[in-house]
Each structure stands twice: as C-alpha cells, then as structure tokens.
C-alpha cells in the first residue's frame, strides 16, 4: 500500500456535520418554504406518448373557485423561452408542450390555485382534443428511415451518429489472435431521489426581481441560463441555496419545474410553489438514464494481452436531448478501465424516442461501460480458460506508469490496481468460497463469486460538454468551485460555500480542511451556503468533484487569510511575516515556544476588525479571503477530436467481490458476502466515504437485479410508481465490507480524488459475474440487466433444453 502523507484532520473519522439537522428535521427543504399568499401548482400531463394537441378547453377549470391561472403551452411561450438545452442539435423543449407531446407524462397545462387540492381538481375539468400520432418506442425501430419522427425538424430520430477512433484500432484488431464479442443490454433506470424536484418562485412586478427557492443543485453554474428561460436578466433572479434531498444527477438544471413556477408567479405577482409528486418525478423529471445496446468487442492475444476495444453503442435518449451525449462522452474518460489497451473505437448512435428524456444518473454512463468492459474481460477469461483474476492482473497499468495518458486523450493521475486487488483478495476468503461452491453444488445449491476491477473517474472538466462536436465548436472550459473564509473578531471561523448540499458531505469536508489548514478544531467552523446574488463561481456537485474542488478552494482561501494573519502578527511581534507559523490555534514566531512570542487567532481577529492603529499602515480592516479554484489538471481537445485532452483525470479504482447464492428453482438471488475496496486517493473522512460507497453499491445492486423503467408498446410509462419501479431497500442489500486503499492524486490538494459514484459504477458487473459463476453448471451467459428471477429460471430452462 502506498504511503499516505500525514495529516491531522484530513482523513479523520469524525461524525458528519450535516447529520444532526437532517436527522432532527431542522434542515429546510424546498417544500418547507411557505410564503404569504403563495399559490400551489398541479400539472396536467399527456396521457399519450405521441400526439398533436388540437384544442385545449380550459374554461371550466378557470371557473373553479380558488383557481388563479390555467396556463397552456401556447400561453406560457409568451412568458417563457424554451428550457435550457446544452446540445448543438436543434432539439427544442418547452416547459409546457405547445404543438405536440413527445412522451406520456409531458406537461400540457399548469394550474396555479390556492391549494394543491384545488389545482388538481381543476385538472379534472380540462378537456383536450388530441390527434394521435404513431408512438416511437423501440430504439432500433426508431432508426428505420420510415419511422415517424419525434422531432419533425430533424431528418431522422438518430440525433447523433458518429464514430470516434482513438489510436490504430484497425491494426490492433488485425494483429489480435482473438476477438471477444458480445451484444449487451443495459436497462433504462432513473435516479429517483427521496425528494422530488421543486421550486418556489416569487416575482415582484414592482422591482422586476424574482426570488427562487429550488432544489436545483448547480445554482451558481446554471442560474444565468435558467434566467433566460424565465425571460429575466440573470442579475434580477436570485436563487437561494436549499438543502437537496438527493439528486444523483437528477437536479442539475430543473428548467421545467422552475419555468412553470416562475411563469405562474410572473402572471399572478404572487409566490408560486411547484413540487413534483412521485408520478411527476418518475414520468417527467428528465432523469432517466442510459438505455443502451452495446455491440462490444475486445481484441486480444492468446496469452491474454488486451489490444483494443470497439464499442458500438445504440442509446435511447427519449424525447429530448438536454445534455447531448454526455452519457457517452463520459465513457471516454475511462474506456480502457484499469488496463493497458492500445486503442479504442466508439460508434455512438443517440436515438430519440417517445419517452421521458435521458440525462445523467450517478455514474453518468461510465457505470454502463464499466459493466460492458468487465463483461468482456470475464468472457475473455472463459474463452481463453485463464483465471479472471490473473487475466486482469496481467493487463493492469502499472504503478510506475502514471500519470497515464489513455487513447482518448484523458489522463489517469495515479493508481495501484494490483494493490487494490490484493487488498480485496486478502479480505475475501475466496479459497473458502470456492470450496463451499463445490460442496454445495453436490447438494443442489448454487453459489457464485464475482470479482471485478474497474475505474471511477472523478472531477470533470467542462470540455466534456462539447468536445464531441467537430471543431471549431467549443464551449465552457472551466468548472470552478469557490470558498470564502472569514475569521471574526473573536476568532470564530465562517466558511461560505457556493454549491448546495445535495446529500453529500460538503460541510464536513470544508470543516476538516479548514481545521487542517489552521490547526483548529472542525467544530470552530460555521458553514453556510450563499445565494446566486452573492455567488462566486461554482459548478456545484456532480461528476464526483466536490471534495477535490472544495479542498483546493479551502487551501486557496486559507492561504490568503493566513497571509494576512501572519502580517498582522509579525507587525505586532516585531518579526518578519515569513517567520510566522500556525500551531495549536495560535500564530507563533517559528520555532519559539514562549507564548509571549505568539498571538491567538482571536487576538488577531480583534486587531483586524477593530484596532486599525495596530495593523500595518496600508492594511484594510477585516480578516477574510475568497478563492476560486479551477480544475487543477485539464486541457483542451485537439481539432480532429482524436485527442480529447485531460477532462476527467482524478481516477479512482475499485475491486468488488460479490458472493451470491442462486435458488435455481425460483431464480431468487441472495447475497452471502460483499467486499468493496476503493482507492480514491487520500480519504477525507472514512465514514462519509463509506456512506457514499454503500449507497452507490445499493444502487448498483438495484440496477443489477431490480430497477427498470419500462414502457409499453404504446409508449405508456409502466413504472410510474414505486410499486412498479423497484428500488432496493435495506432489506435487499447485504452487509457490505468496505476497505480503503490510498494512492494520492499528484494533482489535488491533500491528494484527494472524488468517490461519490464508484459504488454504483463497480457493483453491477460484480453481481452479474457472481450470478453467472453460480450458474456455470448450466453454461449460462448473462448479457442483460436487470437479472430478474424469471430471467434466471428461463435461462436455466433453455439451457436444460426444456
């Protein structure tokens, strides 16, 4: 195991600071916002997947007492611009559909009323005349030239179609001894956070200002874009930071939710709340995720050396294209996994259908490609007759090869993949399980072992939003994060964050980093969040970036504050500012231990605020520093797009080992053990990280066994409640043993990397392999998720020739 730098507070296993207010119910969520005169919203959603709106009769609804506004898409278009879309293609979406609906669940009319009850009563009174259009449901059928068009302004439902070639793929396949090929199917899932999306918008016609309270989680990143949907100048809209009850990627923008509440507020001059309910969220939140068919191929030599990988992707994006192919460009960050693979080809076909659109969900598409690559590696092990562990080890990038540039142009900053693997093996007792497997098979019981090694990219750079478009296309090139640190006259710390709390641990991270920088206790630090009016640059949470970015921002702000503290102390102690040091909450003349050669932080705070004559002559009063930390290691793509530059370089790695028993009669899967070793560089706080890992693995088990957003042949959403969209509960999740391996990043403060998504990115292939391994006597290959009990029973029956 690599040695870790010594820290006092970084890495300490302290309790999460966020928890008390969450557990005691004092944290304020969007739905807690109550304002005088506030109205409530309900949205009428399309019952059809694809239909033209001929006429909407809202007259009866408008008559209902307590109803203030009944807003159709056509009327809304006068107050709103289309919702933000970050794609180059002309796929236009409105908060409320105008001419036609493109998925079952799309908003058609919004009502603002005194209560949500009345608003829903009003929906009952609205009559719509429809012209039904043929639904486009199956993505392969949607690709056919004669398929009905989801967007008539596009020539085809294939909205993006391009082959990216990184390195000499043709030559690598030509020199390969074998090519392992699989068609693999990953199902449409959805983020389904505990708290649905929502917004309270309050427009003041007098001042022309709008206040927004919403659980959008990138407020300082995208508020200015959402303001344009609201047809307001960005500086006239203030987004207040809210506690966010989970996002997993589903709350990055929320243009529709904020647009609807904002439009109704502009029309009424009153505050308006729109909270999605669960059906709104499952059918129309825009947080469906990768829905892919891969024709995947791995070229290798007979001794098991990987040469090249080819991924032909068909991806069902649903009806709109908000983040373009973000779920596929994400794959390019770690397309070769932890292995030396010389070249990569990715053919990407993004297909529009009549479904709620796909955006990003924890893993953002890399979850899928990890599963695909590990499926290929296991298939290669089976075909070559090489043990899967040895095959992986044989191909690992070695610790002395970092930073390692992969064929796509991204970098892996650091890693020790064999070290992670060995740590997992040391904790898994595989010999025991192999023996049990043999013993139990003789009793007609089937247990299996799944082991995978996979990457967890972290800390994205914004170039990934646009580099798939040919030059000269370009876009954002920074993903900054800021922190302000102020020390008050009595020495207390105030840290201000510009990204929201979305369920992770930003307060714990910042308190620990400040404690590290100033050698104070984390409990001395108060933390608050700032609205966009006072906002500093911040991209917010997403892509496992916040721990890295906040650490860097704290370091920067602390350096500024310490610099001033040292100047003040040096001035008072008649010493040189370069000779000052911070120790145990005091500033000392370096090396001296007599307290009279030191000042407490409180002493310095008091001087800085209220004793101007004690400060160096040209110094301003006060003691604070802000710092905006930009991505520490990113580079632009080349014009040919054969080298995408460094865009996701803080590369974590993990090994998961799942041990399962399959009841071959019922198809039910039970976990016997689950071991997870993660390497995300320096660990900031073990328990916060373990929470992320365990929660992620739960979602990984969910996609492996349960979760699937299903649509009927008519395009109806069949999974619009939690009765039919099956999330795992704690009862479905084993007791997961988590271990940390530490290989610090050379590029970040303290050596941290992001660890927010790894659990979900690595667990699915481990679970898949464990089930496949259990079913070895039947010779079954698993190529599709979720692995349902029924699918297992059917596969066994087919294998038995039944």
């Amino acid at each position: 195991m690599t040695t870790t730098p010594e820290f006092k507070w970084v890495g300490k296993d302290i309790k999460r600071r966020e928890d008390p207010s969450l557990l005691m119910g004092t944290a304020k969520y969007t739905n807690d916002v109550q304002l005088p005169g506030m109205l409530h919203t309900a949205v009428l959603r399309s019952p059809y997947a694809h239909a033209r709106i001929i006429n909407i009769d809202t007259s009866a609804a408008k008559q209902l007492p307590g109803v203030h506004v009944v807003l159709t898409g056509r009327e809304a278009a006068e107050i709103l611009n289309p919702v933000p879309a970050f794609c180059a293609e002309p796929v236009v979406e409105h908060a409320i559909a105008i001419e036609k609906v493109r998925y079952a669940g799309e908003a058609v009319v919004a009502v603002a009323a005194d209560t949500r009850y009345i608003a829903e009563d009003a929906l009952d009174l609205i009559n719509i005349e429809w012209e039904l259009l043929p639904p486009v449901v199956d993505m392969l059928a949607a690709m056919q030239p004669d398929a009905p068009l989801v967007h008539e302004n596009l020539k085809s439902n294939v909205v993006f179609d391009h082959t990216f070639v990184f390195g000499d793929v043709a030559a690598d396949f030509a020199r390969a001894d074998r090519v392992i090929k699989r068609r693999l199917r990953w199902p449409r899932a959805t983020a389904a956070p505990m708290e649905p999306s929502g917004a309270v918008c309050s427009y003041d016609p007098g001042s022309g200002r709008m206040e927004v309270w919403s659980n959008t989680n990138m407020l300082n990143f995208v508020a200015w874009v959402i303001a344009s949907t609201l047809k307001l100048p960005p500086h006239m809209v203030n987004f207040n930071p809210m506690y966010v009850g989970g996002s997993f990627g589903s709350k990055h923008v929320l243009g529709k939710v904020i647009g609807i509440a904002g439009a109704l507020s502009k029309m009424t001059g009153r505050p308006v709340k729109f909270m999605e309910d669960r059906i709104d969220n499952l059918t129309a939140n825009d947080s469906h995720a990768a829905d892919r068919i891969y024709d995947a191929a791995l070229a290798l030599t007979n001794d098991g050396t990987f040469l090249s990988v080819r991924l032909n992707t068909f991806d069902d994006y649903g009806a709109y294209f908000m983040f373009a192919i973000a779920g596929n460009t994400n794959v390019m960050a770690q397309a070769i996994g932890p292995y030396k693979i010389n070249s990569v080809e990715m053919d990407i076909k993004a297909i529009l259908t009549n479904k709620n659109q796909q955006t990003v969900f924890r893993g953002a598409g890399s979850d899928v490609s990890n599963w695909v690559l590990e499926r290929l590696v296991d298939a290669a092990a089976d075909e070559l007759g090489i043990d899967g562990i040895e095959l992986r080890r044989h191909n690992f990038i070695q610790p002395d090869q970092f930073p390692y540039k992969i064929p796509t142009g991204n970098y892996y900053d650091s890693g020790n993949y064999a070290g992670v693997l060995d740590m997992a093996l040391a904790n898994a007792q595989l010999d025991h399980w192999r023996a049990e497997q043999v013993r139990l098979r003789s009793e007609g019981r089937y247990i299996g072992i799944g082991l995978v090694s996979a990457q967890q990219r972290s800390t994205y750079s914004a170039t990934e939003f646009w580099f798939h478009n040919p030059a000269p296309a370009s876009g954002l090139t920074t993903t900054p994060e800021s922190v302000r640190i102020g020390i008050g006259p009595t020495g207390g710390f105030n840290a201000t964050l510009f990204s929201t709390f979305w369920g992770n641990s930003p307060e714990t991270v910042v308190a620990q980093a400040i404690a590290e920088e100033f050698d104070v206790d984390p409990s001395d630090v108060n933390i608050s969040y700032e609205s966009t009016r006072h906002g500093l640059p911040s991209a917010g949470p997403g892509g496992s970036r916040l721990t890295v970015m906040l650490s860097g921002a704290v370091r920067g702000a602390a350096t500024k504050v310490k610099d001033k503290m040292f100047k003040i102390a040096a001035h008072l102690l008649e010493a040189n500012a370069d000779d000052m040091e911070l120790r145990a909450g005091r500033v000392w003349v370096k090396g001296l231990n007599d307290e009279k050669y030191s000042l407490s932080i409180a002493d310095i705070g008091m001087k800085a605020y209220w004793h101007k004559f004690d400060l160096p002559p040209d110094m301003e009063s006060g003691l604070e520093g802000s710092f905006t930390y930009d991505h520490p290691f990113s580079s632009p793509p080349n014009a040919e797009r054969t080298d995408l530059g460094a865009f996701y370089p803080m590369m974590g790695n993990a090994v998961h080992i799942a041990i399962v028993e399959v009841d071959v009669k019922t198809g039910k899967v039970a976990f016997l053990d689950f071991i997870a070793v993660h390497d995300v560089g320096t660990v900031m706080n073990p328990r916060a990280l373990q929470g992320q890992i365990r929660g992620g693995i739960a979602q990984g088990i969910g996609i492996a066994l349960l979760e699937e957003m299903r649509y009927g042949p008519d395009g109806q959403n069949l999974s619009s409640t939690f009765n039919d969209y099956l999330l795992p509960s704690t009862l479905d999740i084993p007791n997961i043993k988590v271990f940390h391996h530490v290989t610090p990043s050379p590029f970040t403060t303290y050596g941290v990397k992001g660890g927010g998504e790894g659990g979900r990115m690595v667990a699915p292939p481990a679970v898949t392999r464990a089930i496949e391994d259990a079913l070895t006597p039947f010779g079954i290959q698993i190529s599709e998720l979720p692995i349902t009990p029924e699918s297992i029973v059917k596969a066994i029956a087919a294998a038995n020739g039944a």
Partner: protein, 288 residues
C-alpha cells in the same frame, strides 16, 4: 397526488358506523389502515364521496379465543397478526404470512379487515384465510351474516360484501391435532407484494399418512386460489417428497389463467406455484 373533496366521518361506535354506511350507500368507503385506499384516492383512481373512518371505534381490534378457535377484530393491525402470542401459538400461519406484508411502518397501520376487503390478488392474507377455512363476520345496519373465506373473494378488489356492509370480525377454527402449516412466497423485492405466495396446511394421521392437505395461493389469478384437486390428490398418501412433487405437478393444472404482467409472466407464475407448493407442503409437514 391529492384526492378530490370528500365528506369525512369518524364514528366511535360500530352502530354509528353502520348507520352512516346505510345512509351513504355506495358513495361511502370505509377507511381502516388507509394503506391501500389512501394511495388510490391520491391518484384519483377511486373517488369516494364519503369516508367513514373506523379507527376510533372501540372494540374492533382484538384477538380472542373462542370455543372453537380464535376471533380477530377487523381493525387488528398487521403488526399484531405478526406478534400476537395467541395467534403465534394457535395459528402461526397468519403470523408467518404477516411478516411478508410491506414494511413495519405499513404493518403498523394496515388491518386484517382492510386487506380482505381490498382483495388484492397478490396479497398474502386472503390465501391464508382460505387455507384456514376462516369465517368472515359481516355487519350492516340491522343485520349481520357470516361469509366463508371460500365464498368471499370475487375478483381484484371485488368481494361478496354488498353496499352498507362492513367486516367486523374474522373467525378462525382451530386446526385438528397433528397439523402443521407454512407460508412462503417469492417477490421481486423484500416486503413487496408476492409474485406468487402459497399457504399450506398439512394434517397427518398417526402413521404419517396425509389426513388432510390444504393449499391456497395468491398471484395466480384474479382471486386467491384454493387448490382443491391438488389437496384431494394427496389425501391418504404418505407425507414424503414423492407426494409433494406430485402435488406440485397437480397444482399447475388448477391454475387456469394466471396474470401476465411486469412482475411475472403467466409461465413463470405457474412454474413458481409448483415450486412453492412443493416447498410449503414439505415445510408444513416437517413442522408437525
């Protein structure tokens, strides 16, 4: 997800509830645990004009011994079915099935009467009541009657209750000596509704031949199914693996038109029914 307006009554005496039911007729619904009714109202799939909340009625939640068995009040919570000592000792099948219903928070509210009246084809308690030959005591203003479990379930959310009637009590006759029971199910997710569930009772003679076998299933049709032919076929047979395997084969012929939906195809349900019947009978007999 908010219901339309409704009138709400919360009587404290059963007689008052019956009068209200008589007055409001088909427009009224009883509110018990609310775990099925309230979500349906929130989604506006049912729109009762009047709710008669029976939660404040005294003496509707109880478990009592009778001369021939036990009597359970309609408002008895699922949690009680799971933990009650009398149920545990006299009718452990009920407790065993109750554990599969939802999660503790759901079981703390949901009631026996509500589950039976709701008549979900995948619910656990209806087949248990079939297998136990339960009698359902039904009251309306001015009269009462008893319906056997076998005659009670008519279809999804359909029972033999008529307008103005409510379930007041469920009576469960004791099992004969030498009886054992078992409930098992397969669901996609722990705590979820069963794809298929099986309640089995086996009564053995002194020579361990089968005196009586009872098999009831959920998840294989519009109502819970009592597999009478399968039961008949095992009478007199030795309680061994061969007999249970034969029962598994037999039960498949009794399942006429199983549902085919998101959570399980018709074929899979028929297959599961066979596997679970064999297992439930095996374990019921092993408990004697």
């Amino acid at each position: 997800m908010k219901p339309p307006n409704f009138h709400y009554f919360a009587p404290t005496a059963l007689e008052d509830a019956l009068v209200l039911l008589a007055q409001h007729g088909a427009e009224a619904r009883i509110l018990a645990g609310g775990q099925s009714l309230v979500p349906q109202m929130n989604m506006r799939r049912v729109r009762p004009a009047t709710l008669i909340d029976i939660n404040r009625i005294a003496n509707l939640a109880y478990v009592q011994p009778t001369t021939t068995g036990i009597a359970i009040g309609a408002l008895t919570r699922t949690t009680t079915l799971e933990h009650d000592a009398l149920i545990g000792s006299r009718q452990p099948l009920i407790a065993e099935a109750a554990r599969y219903i939802g999660y503790p928070a759901i079981r703390n509210r949901g009631t026996l009467g509500g589950s039976l009246a709701h008549a979900d084809p995948n619910a656990e308690l209806p087949p248990v009541m079939l297998a136990l030959n339960a009698e359902i005591e039904v009251r309306q203003h001015g009269s009462s009657r008893t319906i056997t479990a076998a005659n009670f379930f008519q279809g999804p959310a359909k029972t033999s209750l008529t307008t103005g009637e409510l379930i007041s009590e469920v009576r469960i006759p004791d099992l004969p000596p030498g009886a054992g029971s078992a409930f098992i199910e397969v669901s996609r997710r722990e705590g979820g509704y069963a794809i298929v569930g099986v309640a089995a009772v086996v009564v053995l003679n002194a020579d361990r031949s089968i005196a009586e076998a009872r098999v009831a299933l959920c998840g294989v049709g519009p109502t819970p199914l009592r597999a009478t032919q399968t039961e008949q076929g095992s009478i007199g047979q030795p309680a061994n693996a061969h007999t249970w395997a034969a029962a598994a084969t037999a039960v498949q012929h009794e399942i006429i038109n199983p549902p085919d939906d998101l959570h399980g195809s018709a074929d899979y349900r028929r297959h599961l029914a066979a596997v679970l019947v064999e297992r439930a009978l095996t374990s019921a007999a092993a408990r004697i």
